[in-house]
Amino acid sequence: MPHLENMVLCRESQVATLQSLFGERHHFSFPSIFIYGHTASGKTYVTQTLLKTLELPHVFVNCVECFTLRLLLEQILNRLSHLSSSEDGYCTEITCDTFNDFVRLFKQVTKAESLKDQTVYIVLDKAEYLRDMEANLLPGFLRLQELTDRNVTVIFLSEIVWEKFRPNTGCFEPFVLYFPDYSIGNLQKILSHDHPPEYSADFYAAYINILLGVFYTVCRDLKELRHLAVLNFPKYCEPVVKGEASERDTRKLWRNIEPHLKKAMQTVYLREISSSQWEKLQNDDTDPGQLKGLSAYTHVELPYYSKFILIAAYLASYNPARTDKRFFLKHHGKIKKTNFLKKHEKITSLVTLQLLTLVGHDDQLDGPKYKCTVSLDFIRAIARTVNFDIIKYLYDFL
């Protein structure tokens, strides 16, 4: 298929294996196929594109969306009945809440004329969540062809290896297919594919080359790299737009973009700041000093008593309760709500800054309980500003 190669890059051998497994429309195929590989290695994309291009009857279900048995089974049945009855616009919604009913209804739905004898494919994405649902679901889907006596193949897509799926007493073993990570050449090819039309392909390819050089050692995830490519391209083009350099002046472009890429690694890769904030930051072009994250950590200046409350909360959260007697004479393990309004206000503001979180129910009678959520470095910095040696009071450091 010529257009299939253009739509799916760098996955020729996997596509060939899948196509040969599917075989002709009316032939039986292997009852279950398990495809695994890292995130952004193209499992979902390749499977969807292949099934759509070859126009095979299929149902695509995501196990994160359909997290209960009922949702999963009903979605499969309803989509199948839509597939098989394309002539009449309306078909009744099917309800199903056990796997037994599913098998029975499945047999009925696939008797339809339009699906006659063709292999029906059920694709279950994020299949690792199936293990947390009812215990009979995974072995049942593996054997669906045998249980329903119909021409159906179930494809499982997951990041986790097959050995972790196998039930204790064994099951029907699927055919396991691995999608290896893209090599640096493949990544280059795929990323250069979506170049904006205003610039030439070579220009964009050089940019991708630089980007990969900086990020490849850290990250090979295609989704992350694409996100970074899109965000940083305007900055890369800046000298050309402003007229300071031509498209071929690679050294100048490199010198311009390199510090930005290094900074991008710290914040955008972690997705701590959103892409719109990042773009605004680029446009401001102010002194690229301290980069601000979304969290309160870097730019909060707390009042004096709030700092002590925070330190006390940290000690209460991470020291076991029995050691409190050693450290303190009067202080209790938990912070209790008192009538002292100011203290309550301060606690509430700390919760808003997400430095404390509420643990336990709202309606607990003896006061809400809080837990401190800051890291050790942060609390040490705070403690230093009030001249309090927190290390002496921490159980883990004795």
């Binding site: 032939h27 195929s29 009979n136 691995y178």
Partner: protein, 404 residues
């Protein structure tokens, strides 16, 4: 003229191959009943005797068929039932009920399914009326009213029998075995399971009503017979329309079974697992490579198929992950702590490491103790295969893993 003839030939060729694919795929994937039983003749005779006694002579009995996964239990029972149905005097009377532990996960559903399959009066089409107690009493009455001479014999086949033993009070099993002991409607209860310790799962009152008859399927054939099975599975049946092609194909299969490299592949496969299911997967993968330009299976195809079957999955995943190993060398970037934490979390999501205790309440996330779920040799193998691995990472791994 010759062009047209060769085009015709090609067309017929493609037609033939499509037929071949259809037949062989149905055999490998859909587990069509085989014409031959390999190494289980004795067990088959035992089973068919039992079934005949129920169907023709009206004697109730119960049996458990035990064997590892893929040893042919379902195939055996299907074969026996097919033969039973071909016997004229029995076929019009026998009622069959097929239950599966994966589908009927509690007794209520199982009972409804039995009522549905037997088409009793309280089932209209697919819907079954009445509560669990009503259904049960209706069914038991219907079965108890009969006698040996005038009622239809009922055969209950329970697949994944061990799952039925986990139902509450084992009500269904108790009642079925109870009926098979009392002399009323001739009933045959056949359980299929992969657990050897199935009898220990049964309650005492259920076990005492069971006849303790067991048929074991132990895949007890040797390698020469395995090769024979391979040949038979890959050959085309005698009813194939194009006789010339079928003969050529079967001859090719005969050559394959005598080829040394093919025998090595089969020996490796045999050493890992004897059962026919894995053989079917191997043959299916080899069959995939048969196309119009490559009309016969070659030894190379089988070797490729073997490679595809026996990949070590953890090694694949691990070797892609070496970049997330923390770097001590100064020549590489010192990554910021949050970047390393993100990588660490990704490792946890891939289930290569696991926290030792479940709760993370008492200690912070960064300081939680973790357990590595991989072996040293797997890590070393992965490092060998990893493309573009920095040499200092490799040296660090070899030095720290070598003394273990």
């Amino acid at each position: 003229m010759s062009n047209r003839k060769s085009k015709n030939n090609n067309l017929m060729h493609a037609e033939c191959l499509s037929q071949v694919q259809r037949i062989l795929r149905a055999r490998f994937c859909h587990q069509n009943p085989h014409s031959n039983l390999f190494g289980v003749q004795v067990q088959y005779k035992h089973l068919i005797e039992l079934l005949k006694r129920t169907a023709i002579h009206g004697e109730s009995n119960s049996v458990l068929i035990i064997g590892p996964r893929g040893s042919g239990k379902t195939m055996l029972i299907n074969h026996a039932l097919k033969e039973l149905m071909e016997i004229g005097e029995a076929s019009e009377n026998i009622l069959q009920v097929h239950l599966n532990g994966l589908l009927q996960i509690n007794d209520k559903i199982a009972l409804k399914e039995i009522t549905r399959q037997l088409n009793l009066e309280n089932a209209v089409g697919d819907k079954v009326f009445g509560s669990f107690a009503e259904n049960l009493s209706f069914l038991l009455e219907a079965l108890k009213k009969g006698d040996r001479t005038s009622s239809c014999p009922v055969i209950f086949i329970l697949d994944e029998f061990d799952l039925f033993a986990h139902h509450k009070n084992q009500t269904l099993l108790y009642n079925l075995f109870d009926i098979s002991q009392t002399a009323q409607t001739p009933v045959s209860v056949i359980g299929l399971t992969c657990r050897l310790d199935i009898l220990e799962l049964l309650e005492k009152r259920v076990k005492s009503r069971f006849s303790h008859r067991q048929i074991h399927l132990m895949n007890s054939f040797g390698f020469p017979q395995y090769v024979k099975i391979f040949k038979e599975q890959l050959s085309l049946p005698a009813e194939f329309p194009d006789k010339v092609f079928a003969e050529k194909w079967n001859e090719n299969v005969q050559c394959l079974s005598e080829d040394r490299s093919v025998r090595e592949v089969l020996q490796k496969h045999f050493n890992v697992s004897k059962n026919l299911r894995s053989l079917h997967m191997l043959l299916m993968l080899a069959l995939n490579r048969v196309t119009a330009s490559h009309p016969f299976v070659t030894p190379a195809d089988l070797m490729e198929a073997n490679q595809l079957c026996s990949m070590d999955s953890k090694a694949n995943i691990v070797h892609e992950f070496q970049k997330f190993v923390q770097r001590k060398a100064h020549s590489v970037y010192n990554f910021e702590k949050p970047v390393v934490m993100k990588a660490f979390e990704h490792l946890q999501q891939l289930e290569l490491i696991k926290p030792i205790e479940r709760t993370s309440v008492n200690s912070q996330r960064e300081y939680q103790l973790m357990k590595l779920l991989l072996d040293n040799t797997q890590i070393m193998n992965a490092l060998q295969k990893y493309p573009n691995c920095p040499t200092d990472v490799r040296q660090w791994a070899t030095s720290s893993l070598s003394w273990l």
